[in-house]
Amino acid sequence: MTEAAPAGGPASQKAGPPASAHTGFLRIREELPAWKGWLLGLLPVLALLGLWVVVTTGAAEERVISPTILPSPAEVVASFPLLWFDRAVTRNLAVSFTRVVEGFALGVALSFPLGVLMGAFTKVKAAFTPLTVFGAYLPIPTLVPLTLSLFGTGELQKVMFLALAFSIYLVPLFVAAVDAVDDTYLKTAYTLGATRGQAVSRVLLPISWPDIWQAMRLGFGVGWSYILLAEMVDVGRGLGGIIITSQRRGPREHIYLVLVIIVVVAFLTDKLWAVVGRFLFPYREAKR
């Protein structure tokens, strides 16, 4: 059947969506060249920046929002050298990044075996589901005093706090990833004489790897929102320390700068996860 078929009959409706879906500005599942995608993504950012400029232009007393609440973009940029040199943002970033990585590694080491076991074995799942549900509703900040009394105030506490937070986030995702493996694969494996161990290691795991990877990618991004909580204690080194200090002592500009830095770093690491993921699971890309 061709596109030119006369409209009206039920057959032509089955053949494709009405013409309106293909024309106009917004088209469903439209093919978009990369540059256009970038450009469209840039527009809201620019609009936001523009708004920021508008509400923070003029003398301090004439602005829509006072500089004591929101400094102008120019002021934020101008405070960058101070942040870079006096407050050693790169070193603090390295400290925070290391903590996230360590906490993440430990968190994965905890949550991966548990998640896979829960995904594979119903009894394990039944046993641990209440705990994970409890964890999902647990306000993470309440873990700070707990880890404090268990692990002291040093690096250990921060890494353990992050590891706990990561685990709570990751376990349900890992379970879901293993859960999502189609029964057909298992049945086929059993037909071929696979043992229980083989079914897990040769069927469930390999098939769920891409989803597990995706879960870790999401989890790592979330870690950046936990790092500030982790660095509430023994403040001093790390980006959290810079934010707390800037809130109390100024300049306010640094709060916004650190937020931007966190977003940029999180964005870059996310892209890295994506690139490595594409390299590891090329078939994943083809599927879509």
Binding site: A60, V235, G241, I244, G250
Partner: protein, 575 residues
Amino acid sequence: MEEQPKVGPTALGKLILFLFVLGLIAGAAYYFRDLIAPGGRDRGAQVNMDEFKKVEAPDTKGITTVSEYKYVPGEKLPPVKGVSAYKWDAKDKVVNFPINVWIGWLPIVAANGGFSPSADSIFAKKYGFKVNLKLIDDPVVARDAFAAGESHVLWGTLDMMVLFAPDLMKDSRSAPRVFQQVDWSSGGDGIIVRGAIGSVADLKGKTVVYAQNSPSQYFINNLLLNAGVQPSTVKHKFTATAFEAAAAFVADKSIDACVSWAPDIYNIPDKVKGTRVLTTTAEANKLIADVWAARADFAKDHPEVIKGLVAGIFDGMDRLADPTQREKAYQWMAEGYGMQADEVRAMAQDAHSTNFAENKGFFLNANDPANFERTWKNVTFVYRELGLIDTPVRFDEVMDFGALQELDRAGSFAHQKDESRASFAPTSYKKISAESPILTQTIRINFYPNSANVFEPQHDESGKIVPNTLYDPSVAATLEKVARLVGQYERAVVAVVGHTDSSMKGKGTRVEDVKLLSTDRAEAVKQALAKKYNFDPNKFTVEGKGWDEPANADDPTNQALNRRVEVSVYPPESK
């Protein structure tokens, strides 16, 4: 198929090339390491202890007790520009006044009859506006609400104001104006130590935990600097709040000391073995001042409201003198904080409310050793030396005693007398020095040979006095440094111990004469302090050690070090 002739480097060659490029990048990164990842401002910078003295311009005329500022606050306060930016309903007239959990706010709670705006409050009845007390415990949130014009008032200690002021003053409308001192922390803040730490000097090389950018930080670093301990020789651990500092101290045995608040500072020594209170604001009872500041634009537009707030808080203090009213106020406060009345009553000793007379001393008496100006400058000094602030704000850009002066002229609170001055019974050096001092400050005054006059003039070659000169030109500044410490430790007893050098040892000089000279010199320091700053002479005990105790046992003939006066602060004798 024929193999393609290989072009380009081999696998090994590629590897070497790769490593070479990597090495170049690493080398460049190392070379520019200070640019890529600078180490930050050196926190461990050596503090020049002599700078302590230079905060105050030396003044040689000395010896007056009350000297009021002559200027009008408006001359020094930064002018307000633009259109006022706070929220205000001219009909309702409700002042948004955030407070934290702190017993010092009891007078305003009493005056307001609770937390919510009320037509029955002193503010409404006497001064024609209402006050809405809001619990905002987080200082950063309180500051943001103040900056945004949501609240008209900012609570805080003076040391917090020093840190907040530069940023708030970027907008002249939200510049803070401090009109009133509400209380001195008087036991509410303290330092707990573990193990064998006997005095502040023992903290050298130890780990201390406290909330950064808070009164705790000012408290401990002021002590360290006064005891001659470089803050960089102490390991500082920071937490976001004082509660976390106390929790960290309890949890982590490797932490030797902690600065926190009541009730933790009193509970921990009871519960955790081997810990004790080193010092609290019960002794350093004029160190941490709680004040409130108003937005500059609000103060400019509504001077009558500001005056009413100041007066109403003093009225509240009057009201608290009545026990039934006091009980009521505890109840109101408990309701506002969501606590039990007993818990609030238990905080009663944490602060000393500063009445009208004490506020006058704090704001207006230029010679008060613990007045606004000195407290502000001392805080500024401590924070600047720690590298925490760059361009400090002057005290008179923030302090506004206009409302106080008006009330003074009207005589409204003439009945409130200064109750903050501790009284001392005469005591002996032997008695007080049985315990170890909280801290010892070593000062150097260059005495003219064989003279015990701190204000000794210079002598010419023939020994004749040169008028209008001083043998030690920095003596006033040195005394100022001592006076501040002694003033902060208003309730503590102070030993002034004189030492001489040993240059005449074994040259026919009698030991008794040397002892007498060192005693006279210590006595002279005491007299100079008591006169100029109006200290109770009984607060001091005097001792002369002669040449018996060299400053440095390893270098006993370092005579420049040996000629010194040591000022030691001891906890008050059991009350």
